[in-house]
Symmetry: C2
Subunit: 358 residues, 2 copies
Amino acid sequence: MFEFDILARDPTTRARAGVFHTPHGEILTPVFAPVGTQATIKSLTPAQVTETGASLVLANTYHLYLRPGDELIRDLGGLHRFMQWPGPILTDSGGFQVFSLADSRKVDADGVTFRSHVDGSTHRFTPEKAVAIQENLGADIIMAFDECAEPHDRRYNEEALARTHAWAVRCQGAHTRNDQALFGIVQGGVFADLRQESAGFIGRQGFPGNAIGGLSVGETKEQMHSMLEVVDRALPEDKPRYLMGVGTPEDLVHAVQRGVDIFDCVLPTRLARNHAVLTRQGRLNLRNAQFARDGRPVEPGCACYCCANFTRAYVRHLIVADEILAASLLSIHNIYLLVSLTREMHQAILDGTFAGRA
Amino acid sequence: MFEFDILARDPTTRARAGVFHTPHGEILTPVFAPVGTQATIKSLTPAQVTETGASLVLANTYHLYLRPGDELIRDLGGLHRFMQWPGPILTDSGGFQVFSLADSRKVDADGVTFRSHVDGSTHRFTPEKAVAIQENLGADIIMAFDECAEPHDRRYNEEALARTHAWAVRCQGAHTRNDQALFGIVQGGVFADLRQESAGFIGRQGFPGNAIGGLSVGETKEQMHSMLEVVDRALPEDKPRYLMGVGTPEDLVHAVQRGVDIFDCVLPTRLARNHAVLTRQGRLNLRNAQFARDGRPVEPGCACYCCANFTRAYVRHLIVADEILAASLLSIHNIYLLVSLTREMHQAILDGTFAGRA
């Protein structure tokens, strides 16, 4: 359980193709996980998500703790059963959401007190609490409780890093379920020495996988790539690496080249609800009048359910008429694209043809 | 084409089981058609609609004429291709919608001038125009342009009936496509003599099917049943009868007992978006707190995708969290229920076991 087999390595980059074993099935890496914040990939049934080719999905601890409650989900048989996702699930720790509540949270050495965005009620997360909630939810991969600092603030990053490392150790101590893999999280903002220190510390704790947090939150692409390179050198090679909250097709390729295996992002579903389409030739906004009579698929050549069946003209009509189906069809397409992109990278690394990608 | 074979009759009521042949497949009757006002059954893909067991779907001429335009749909290959519904489609005439625009339409003997609900622009429907639009859309079953009067206003019903009959004849004269069945529409409000006159007149025109309009618009159930009985006696027996805009499970049973074959209604999808569920034991509103920890399916024993997979607790969570998937899952259930109910009536009439239903 939770073995990570590296099947092949690209000879000219740090890219690897692997398979991560979980109680709910194998994950071929690199892999992109769509996000089901509230135990649903927005606007899609699990059957539709399966059709996109997704193997791993993410759900958010903060949201599910507040609503409907992690104990309710536990009592109803756990998150897999609740949301009817038969494959692997990953839950985040709630840290990112809690620290995003800039004006309604207070951090101390032991944890964070915050106010709910739903009803303003007061709550407290500690490392032990974040693990207990995630044990109630029952995902295959769960995350240590970390503090995501503003990436350019050195002093804050130093302080947050100390807490993140102490909390990572406390999460390990609190974790009891051996059918869940607890991943550590590397922080350190845009500071190479902090990133190196963090990757070294987290890497030494023996987690079955390691995540890279606090990127894609305002830094430049160059900074992101540079931090990934530092972390890549310092983390254990034989464990999967998960770049949290990333991202675009380009980001996925650049990160795989730098040794990353797992990704998640709300981008495909959020863009879809704003009528935007990811394609291999860039983004389109299908609300534009130029698509009104366009009889081509959303992305010519794409094999997803949306592109195999519908025209741009139809999807634009749904958008203009404010029909929910527009969000569903574009979510299917956008997720399919990112899932396919990671699956193709997996195959290209196996085939020895990955180097050409940039 | 457009043959209607009556396979069996219930010996104690006026119920019949039949099959209506269309260019896009057979329709077993009694049949319930979900409504795709804007060329989409709200929140569902055609694949999901197919899974509910629906054979016939309805789309609205008024809405599609305004947006995206019937000529655009024609140029892109017609409505079946545009919305990717491979089975039979029925379009209404636009009459009901236009006459619903109480303050922004003006009727004369030749047609109706009205203002668009989308942008306030002025348009005019005549019988010839309503047929031309429906020929552009290309549905299998199209409807004569009629006037739906307030059901209790005798004088208005008399005047409207004269126009409806004259327009029915003009629609027949205007209709050119022999791959479409043009149905006539019986009106007459709650007045038995007007209904009888109308059913007699419309029935004599030789339409391949006849519709009953202007019911389920404010009259009592007793009035509806009484009007159906009058119309049943006056319409040709060998043609399908379509009761427009109905309805609830009880309405379907009562109307089938009175010789009706085809139904459509927005009820299942509209209720779903308001979190209400049709069941064989009555309606539930799943937003209610009593369902928060309810591990049962939405309707125990139901075989739809929603009930086969999810709990009431999960669907309630989706509702409370304002997730789109709630509308999709409840639409699937509600449509499945009405489609199954008509399919079971078809089978019961064949089996000679229909009489027990009331």
